[in-house]
C-alpha cells in the first residue's frame, strides 16, 4: 500500500520513507550495510526498518565492503533488488571493483542474460568537519563507467523521489546523499507521484541572465546566491550525473547565453568540464560569455571550520563570481589563484 501523503520531512527521514515504501511495495527489495539494522544506520536513515520488515529484508554486515557490495551484486543477478549502504562514500574505495568492473559489466558480458538492479547509497560530501577521508563527494569517480548510473539528490524531495527510481532501475545505480543535508527539511510528495525519473534535470528557478547548473548541496548554494543578486539565473538541479540531461541544459543556455557550473568537488577532472565541453561545442557562437566553473580547489577537504567553509563554494562566493562574469564578460579567476580569500 502506497502512502500518497505530502509531508514535511528531513532528508534522512525522506531516505527512510523511500526505503520503507520500496520495501513495502516490492518484496524483492532488501537492505544491506554496516549498522543499518539494529542501530538504524549511522545517519538514522534506516531507523526502525528492521523492526518493520525483519532480518531477511534489513541485514547488518561486517565491516567488509568488498564482500557485502559484491554480495549485493550477486543477489541482484538473481532478481533481488538490494540496496547497499556505504556509510561514507570513501569506504567504497576498497570495494570499487565490484561496482565498476563487475556490476557495470554483467549485462554486457552476459549479453543481457544477467541484470544487476543494484542500488548503492552513500553519505557523501563536505561541510560537517569529518576531515579529508570522510568528506569527499567522489562523484567524479563513477561517471566514466558505462553501465553505471550516478544520482545526487539536493534535498528531501529529490532524495525520496530519486532513491525510489534508483531502486526500480534495472541497472546499477549509485546514489550520493549529501551528508550535510540529512537534517534539511522540505515538503515531500510520497507515493508513486513523488518518484522522480533518473536522467531528468529540474529547473529550480527561472531567470534570464545566466544558466547555473548545480548538483547536490550546491543547488541550495546557487539558489541562495541568486536570491541576493542583481542578476537572475535559471538554476538547474542536474539530479542525475550519469546520464546527465543535456536537453534541459542546452535549452536553458540557448535562452540565457551564459553557463555557470557549481561543483562541490575539486576543479581538475570535475563533471562540469563535460558540460562546458558539450555546451561550447553545441552552442558555439551563441554564448555571450565564457563558461565558468565554480568548484572546490585541488586540495583535500580541510578539517578546520574556517578552512572548510572557504573550501566549499559558498553563496557569497558564487554570487561574486557570477557577478564578475556578467560584468566583465570574462571568466573570473577562482579565489585560490587570486592570492585572496573570498568569503
Amino acid at each position: 500500500m502506497d502512502n500518497n501523503s505530502t509531508q514535511k520531512l528531513r532528508m534522512r527521514q525522506a531516505v527512510l520513507e523511500a526505503l520503507g515504501d520500496e520495501l513495502e511495495s516490492d518484496p524483492s527489495v532488501f537492505l544491506m550495510g554496516e549498522d543499518i539494522a539494529d542501530a538504524g544506520g549511522a545517519f538514522k536513515a534506516t531507523e526502525g526498518l528492521l523492526q518493520r520488515f525483519g532480518p531477511k529484508r534489513v541485514l547488518d554486515t561486517p565491516i567488509s565492503e568488498m564482500a557485502f557490495l559484491g554480495a549485493g551484486v550477486g543477489a541482484a543477478t538473481m532478481g533481488l533488488r538490494p540496496v547497499v549502504e556505504m556509510m561514507f562514500i570513501e569506504f567504497i574505495g576498497v570495494a570499487l571493483d565490484q561496482l565498476v568492473t563487475e556490476a557495470a559489466k554483467f549485462r554486457y558480458l552476459s549479453r543481457g542474460q544477467l541484470e544487476v538492479p543494484l542500488t548503492v547509497r552513500a553519505s557523501a560530501g563536505a561541510g560537517l568537519g569529518f576531515g579529508c577521508q570522510h568528506s569527499q563527494m567522489l562523484d567524479n569517480w563513477f561517471r566514466n563507467t558505462p553501465g553505471l548510473k550516478v544520482v545526487v539528490p539536493s534535498g528531501p524531495r529529490t532524495a525520496y523521489g530519486l532513491l525510489r527510481a534508483a531502486i526500480r532501475d534495472p541497472d546499477p545505480v549509485i546514489v550520493l546523499e549529501p551528508r550535510s543535508l540529512y537534517g534539511a527539511r522540505e515538503t515531500v510528495q510520497r507515493g508513486e507521484a513523488g518518484i522522480l525519473p533518473l536522467g531528468v534535470a529540474e529547473i529550480v528557478t527561472e531567470g534570464s541572465d545566466v544558466t547555473i547548473v548545480a548538483l547536490g548541496q550546491m543547488v541550495a548554494v546557487a539558489v541562495e546566491a541568486a536570491e541576493a543578486a542583481d542578476w537572475t539565473a535559471e538554476i538547474i538541479d542536474l539530479r542525475t550525473l550519469v546520464p546527465w540531461d543535456d536537453e534541459t541544459v542546452m535549452a536553458s543556455v540557448e535562452r540565457t547565453g551564459r553557463l555557470v557550473i557549481v561543483e562541490e568537488s575539486p576543479y581538475s577532472g570535475g563533471w562540469g568540464s563535460d558540460i562546458v565541453g558539450e555546451v561550447a561545442a553545441q552552442l558555439f557562437g551563441q554564448l555571450q560569455a565564457p563558461p565558468l566553473r565554480v568548484t572546490a580547489p585541488d586540495a583535500p577537504v580541510p578539517f578546520s571550520g574556517n578552512l572548510e567553509s572557504v573550501y566549499l563554494p559558498s553563496a557569497d562566493y558564487v554570487r561574486t563570481q557570477v557577478g564578475e562574469l556578467l560584468e566583465s564578460g570574462r571568466r573570473p579567476l577562482p579565489w585560490w589563484e587570486r592570492g585572496v580569500v573570498l568569503r
Binding site: 557490495l69 538473481m78 571493483d97 563487475e102 549485462r107 549479453r111 543481457g112 558505462p146
Partner: protein, 338 residues
C-alpha cells in the same frame, strides 16, 4: 547468430555417465591444445589462460552441480565452460572473437558465459567472483530455495581481501556456497610457497568457522566425492565449505609465459598423475571401456573439435551495433542520439 549444433543443457547431462566425463575431459584438453595452435597462427587477440592438467576439477564439479546452481569462475575458465555445457564452437568462437562465441565475441577468452547452465561471465579480476557467489547464495537463502553457488578460484586468490571477507560473510550467514580453490601451485609466475605461509589453503577455513578439506584434484572421483559432500551441506542449510583441489597447470600462466620458473621434473611428475589418464585407467579397470574405446573417444573428440573450429572460422565478427547493446537496459545506440 549461427545455430549452435548442441544444446548446453543436454551436454551438461552427458556428465552423468563416467564415459561422458572422460569424453569431456578429453574435449577440454584438445580444445586447449587447439586454442594454443590458433594463437600460434595469430588468430587470437590478447591473452589466454589454459587449464590443461586441471580437467578433473571442472568436470567433477559440473557433474554434481544442477543447472540452476550458479558458478563464478576465474579467467582460467575454458574447462569450466565446457564442463558446464558450453559447446566447443561457442568457447573457441569467443576466444577468436566471432559471433558464434558464447558472448558474441564481446568478451574474449577471459569472459566466457552462459547463464542457462549457471556460468556467470568468468572473472578476470582475481578473487572478484567470491563476493558475487556469496550474493547468489544469499539470494537463495532469502528466497528459501536450495540452490547452491560455486566460487571457483585459484590459489592466488587466497591472498586477496575478497577471499577472506567472503569466507567470513559466508561463515556468519551460513551461506549455501561451495568455495572451490584450484591450487595449481602458482599465482601467475610465483610459486605458492613464496606467497603463502601455509601448506594447505583449506586450513584457512577454520578462521571463518566453515569446514575446509584438501582434495586430490587429479582424481575426478575424489573431486566428485568432496563436491557432493559440500553441496549436501549447502542444500541442507548447513552453510559453506572450502575445498582445496590440489592440481597443476601444464602450461604457464598465460600464453606469454614459458614457465621457466618451474623446477626441472615438476611438470613430468604431475603429468604422471594426469587426470584423464587416471580416469581412463579406472574405466578400464572397472570394465566400462577398453583401451580401443578410449582411443576411439579421443579420435571422435578431435573430429568434433575440428568441426567446431571450422564453424568458428566461418562465423562473422560481431556487428558494430553489438558494442552498444547490453550496456544498459535502455540501449544507447548512436542513431538514437540527435
Amino acid at each position: 547468430m549461427t545455430e549452435v549444433e548442441e544444446n548446453a543443457v543436454d551436454r551438461r547431462a552427458e556428465l552423468q555417465s563416467r564415459l561422458g566425463m572422460y569424453n569431456r575431459m578429453v574435449e577440454i584438453r584438445q580444445v586447449e591444445e587447439r586454442v594454443q595452435a590458433l594463437f600460434n597462427e595469430n588468430l587470437v587477440r590478447g591473452s589466454t589462460h589454459l587449464c590443461s592438467g586441471q580437467e578433473a576439477v571442472s568436470v567433477g564439479l559440473a557433474s554434481v552441480a544442477r543447472v540452476t546452481d550458479r558458478v563464478t569462475c576465474t579467467y582460467r575458465g575454458h574447462g569450466m565452460a565446457l564442463s558446464l555445457g558450453v559447446t566447443p564452437a561457442q568457447v573457441i568462437g569467443e576466444i577468436v572473437g566471432r559471433q558464434i562465441g558464447c558472448t558474441g565475441g564481446l568478451g574474449g577468452s577471459m569472459h566466457l558465459c552462459d547463464v542457462s547452465v549457471g556460468l556467470y561471465p568468468t572473472f578476470a579480476i582475481v578473487g572478484a567472483g567470491l563476493p558475487v557467489a556469496a550474493g547468489v547464495a544469499l539470494a537463495a537463502r532469502l528466497r528459501d530455495t536450495d540452490d547452491v553457488a560455486f566460487a571457483v578460484f585459484g590459489d592466488g586468490a587466497a591472498n586477496i581481501g575478497a577471499f577472506h571477507e567472503t569466507l567470513n560473510l559466508a561463515g556468519i550467514w551460513e551461506l549455501p556456497v561451495v568455495f572451490v580453490c584450484e591450487n595449481n601451485l602458482y599465482g601467475e609466475y610465483t610459486r605458492i610457497d613464496l606467497s603463502t605461509p601455509v601448506d594447505d589453503l583449506s586450513d584457512r577455513a577454520a578462521s571463518y568457522g566453515i569446514p575446509g578439506e584438501v582434495v586430490d584434484g587429479q582424481n575426478v572421483d575424489e573431486v566428485i566425492g568432496a563436491v557432493s559432500g559440500a553441496v549436501r551441506r549447502a542444500r541442507a542449510g548447513k552453510g559453506a565449505t572450502l575445498l582445496e583441489m590440489k592440481t597443476y597447470r601444464y602450461s604457464g600462466h598465460s600464453r606469454s609465459d614459458p614457465a621457466t620458473y618451474r623446477p626441472p621434473g615438476e611438470l613430468e611428475q604431475w603429468q604422471s598423475r594426469d587426470p584423464i589418464q587416471i580416469l581412463g585407467d579406472r574405466l578400464v579397470e572397472d570394465g566400462l571401456a577398453g583401451h580401443d574405446e578410449l582411443t576411439c573417444i579421443a579420435e571422435q573428440v578431435a573430429e568434433r573439435v575440428e568441426l567446431a573450429v571450422d564453424r568458428v572460422m566461418s562465423s562473422p565478427e560481431p556487428a558494430l551495433e553489438e558494442m552498444f547493446r547490453h550496456v544498459s537496459a535502455t540501449q544507447l545506440m548512436t542513431d538514437d542520439r540527435t
